[in-house]
């Protein structure tokens, strides 16, 4: 469904052209979740931006980015706007950058749907409530009336997801959506993202620096370094038989200790109240 072929992007700088992306090729099938894993400077964010056409203006782009047959790199103006409204949505790392601080959540969501799908404001309001339920928010009315600064990071990210799935897009791009969250909140938001995706049959391109996180929700993972994709595969295969030295390096930098897991053994007895161990 999404087919990126030989995508190369460079930016003219003070000392010659800077190559950000080099011959990047990847595919995302309908309803498939694909991960893009890399460290800082690998070009993973720029890949997403190229899909949405928000790359820097002075960038030179070659190659093709095809969504259901249409080459996105040739689009501009109205067709591009339609694309952003209906086909592809994106969630990014910082929800505060996306949510208008002077709008209550309900209005933000309703207006978004009104603009993009042409819903009446009343219908949009109702739908907003439904969406919030879908992302696991219990106190829907409270959140609809709240302003962004009154809600926690995890809550805001759920709102952003709600806004992103409102138009039932065919493809969702996620750029490190949980990096700024606490680990427990991250797990919840990832679970919600995974559930929503499956329910909607939505394809997902998930960008992160955490290989295990990607493995938790993705069917396939591309490993990226210095603007290139160095390896592609199923999570198990990458973990057990990494082919490329960089993938191996990523694997090896993780510790080998045993971490408790909820489904491993029956939960041990819980000590209540303050403990007073000392050593």
């Amino acid at each position: 469904m999404l087919d990126i072929r030989s995508l190369s992007l460079s930016i003219a700088g003070d000392h010659g052209a800077l190559e950000i992306l080099r011959n990047v090729s990847l595919t995302v099938g309908r309803g498939e979740a694909v991960g893009l894993v890399g460290e800082s400077g690998s070009g993973k964010s720029m890949t997403l931006r190229s899909i949405l056409r928000t790359e820097p203006r002075n960038a030179t782009v070659t190659g093709s980015v095809t969504l259901e047959g249409v080459d996105l790199l040739t689009l501009a103006g109205e067709p591009l706007r339609m694309l952003r409204a209906h086909e592809v949505s994106m969630i990014a790392q910082n929800p505060h950058a996306v949510l208008n601080p002077v709008l209550p959540i309900g209005r933000y969501l309703a207006e978004g749907m009104h603009d993009a799908q042409g819903l009446s404001l009343k219908a949009a309001r109702l739908r907003a409530g439904e969406l919030l339920e879908q992302v696991g928010i219990d106190e829907v009315d409270r959140v609809l009336a709240a302003y962004p600064h009154q809600l926690s990071g995890g809550m805001l990210q759920r709102v952003v997801i709600a806004g992103a799935i409102a138009g039932k897009p065919k493809l969702m791009l996620a750029d490190e959506p949980t990096t700024a969250l606490d680990v427990t909140t991250q797990a919840e938001v990832m679970a919600i993202l995974d559930d929503c995706r499956r329910e909607l049959g939505m394809a997902l391109l998930f960008v992160t620096h955490d290989l295990d996180l990607a493995a938790a929700v993705c069917d396939r993972i591309n490993v990226m370094k210095d603007g290139e994709i160095v390896e592609t595969g199923v999570p198990d295969q990458l973990r057990d038989h990494p082919a490329h030295p960089y993938t191996r390096e990523l694997m090896e930098s993780r510790p080998a200790g045993i971490l408790w897991s909820p489904d491993a053994t029956p939960a041990p007895t819980i000590a209540k109240g303050h403990d007073d161990f000392s050593y």
Partner: protein
């Protein structure tokens, strides 16, 4: 300056007793620390683990002298440190306990070459002349794996990992017995994290240092900590040897943290998370 041999390995290097601190913002009162007590044996590495709001950063800042506790005491190398951290007290404390901050970008003055950060510490805590200081800078840089040519470099010419090495060299300059590391590898790439943690571990063994490592990342804990203390909302909920706590957690909050930690084969399970959260609430 306390040398590590003054205290036998294993005896308490840091002792925190009933430390309490509350923050008041307008009408809200937040208990950042609630009667927290812990001990860090000399030569070991204790990880303080928690999420945001757990109080772990406040704890570190009080121990180092950046904040003042409301009540409770902190003893370092056998001496109780004064609550009132004026300049003289800070200078004295800095000879024993130093800090490495989280963000490599902002922990160095971007307008000055990086050796000045180390040189400044040497100037305050030693009597060395200029040439001797220069030599000591070179030695410290070599110790943290930085070639001498980086001495004159500006921070922007260094990578994140290299800047953190400079920060570590700066922490070592005063020849302390204790180093407090506040999320010191969190801003680094995963592959670089491993290198820096390995460096820190080597230094600890070589110099008999004691580490207090504040982190939210369990893989960091596994790579460097002997013992771990888990904090939530200003309280310690569990403590023990790293392998024990991470392998057989007793408290539901620790279990929750572990259930949420990505690792090979991990999947986020809403049901489990909800159940553990409910258990904590009771």
């Amino acid at each position: 300056m306390t040398s590590p041999t003054d205290l036998t390995a294993g005896s308490p290097m840091i002792t925190v007793t009933d430390l309490t601190k509350t923050f008041r913002t307008g009408k809200r009162v937040v208990a950042a620390l609630d009667a927290v007590s812990l001990t860090v044996p000399a030569g070991s590495c204790l990880a303080v683990v928690g999420e945001s709001g757990s109080g772990k950063t406040t704890l570190a800042r009080i121990i180092v002298g950046l904040e003042k506790a409301d009540s409770g005491t902190v003893a370092v190398a056998g001496r109780v440190v004064a609550a009132r951290a004026d300049r003289r007290e800070l200078r004295r404390r800095a000879r024993t306990i130093q800090m490495v901050f989280q963000d490599p970008q902002s922990s160095l003055n971007r307008r000055l070459p990086v050796h000045t950060a180390v040189d400044e510490v040497l100037r305050v805590h030693t009597d060395l002349g200029r040439a001797a200081r220069r030599q000591r800078c070179e030695e410290l840089f070599a110790l943290v794996g930085l070639p001498a040519r980086f001495l004159r470099a500006l921070p922007e010419e260094l990578s994140g990992g290299q800047r953190q090495r400079v920060a570590i060299a700066r922490a070592l300059a005063a020849d302390p017995a204790v180093i407090v590391l506040d999320e010191s590898v969190a801003a680094l790439d995963v592959t670089v994290q491993g290198q820096i943690l390995a460096l820190l571990d080597d230094l600890r063994t070589a110099k008999g240092l004691t580490y207090l490592f504040i982190t939210h990342d369990l893989s960091v804990v596994q790579l460097i900590a002997d013992q771990i203390v888990v904090m939530r909302r200003g309280r310690i909920v569990e403590r023990g040897a790293t392998a024990d706590v991470l392998g057989r957690p007793q408290h539901p909050y620790t279990q929750l943290l572990l259930a949420c930690a990505p690792r090979p084969g991990w999947k986020p399970q809403r049901g489990v998370i909800r159940a553990l959260r409910d258990e904590i609430a009771t």
